[in-house]
Symmetry: C2
Subunit: 159 residues, 2 copies
């Protein structure tokens, strides 16, 4: 658990740097679609006392909080429990929607957005996004439809 | 103008560091009151392509964007035009309210929040918050009342 925090906070690693460039890609796409967008500060322990998602996008008073993930091939994705907690806590306060934003690098396919409540808790307290859930994930167009209130989240998923 | 940007972006100056500690103070207060809060990344030119306020706080789907200012004594405050523009652009996209958050350091009085449209444009394209407007500014309690929709912004100001 401590190791996880250390890895996340070390902005100098290549891995984290690559993560930032994909975050910027998503940020730019949402900005072009008319969203107000904000990335989390690349900060240390102090900022971690507050629940802050990787990326927040807002349009029309509708708030979207994203945990941003990339993978090199389509596979089950595991999200650490503390990342799910901070996303959930942020949205509990702000209102709106929490998503895991996933991109398969080099696949040519775009971002997929999996609602947080579609992730399954593992016995170890982390969360799994299965390949099936990933492929059912929303697209950027769907996110825009939610923001413009043309669709409700229930129209995408039957719970 | 360029000088202004350079000063803003240099996170190593004492002035900017002090600014951050006051931002954190405001962040903490809003967090304790149940807001989702996010500070702008302390980043360079790249992030500046997007309009990002110093601080964003959200509660109940109501968005507040703040430009954070401190002063050593109560006086007219001048805000650079580009800071007003980014605040305005963010809120145009997100919906919600834009404020200049001001604290007079060492005065013992708390934060005051002046709605952006109460700042007066100067002939040079910057904005002035007069001492009168400052003293009419909202308190944290008023911000909470707005978030909880107990009050509308028009109840605070007669335009």
């Amino acid at each position: 658990m401590l190791g996880q925090y250390l890895r996340d906070d070390n902005v100098l690693t290549g891995r984290r740097q690559r993560g930032f460039s994909h975050e910027r890609d998503l940020l730019m796409k949402l900005w072009k679609k008319g969203f107000a967008v904000m990335r989390a500060p690349a900060s240390g322990a102090r900022a971690r006392r507050f629940a802050v998602p990787d990326l927040v996008a807002i349009k029309n008073g509708v708030v979207f909080a994203f945990e941003v993930k990339t993978m090199r091939e389509q596979r089950d994705l595991y999200v650490p429990g503390h990342q799910v907690s901070k996303l959930r806590e942020f949205i509990r306060r702000s209102g709106g929607y929490a998503f895991i934003a996933v991109k398969v690098i080099g696949s040519g396919s775009g971002w997929r957005f999996v609602p947080l409540d579609q992730a399954e808790e593992t016995p170890g307290g982390n969360y799994k996004v299965s390949v099936e859930k990933f492929s059912l994930g929303l697209t950027i167009k769907d996110i825009i439809a939610l923001a413009e209130k043309h669709k409700s989240i229930d129209e995408f998923f039957f719970k």
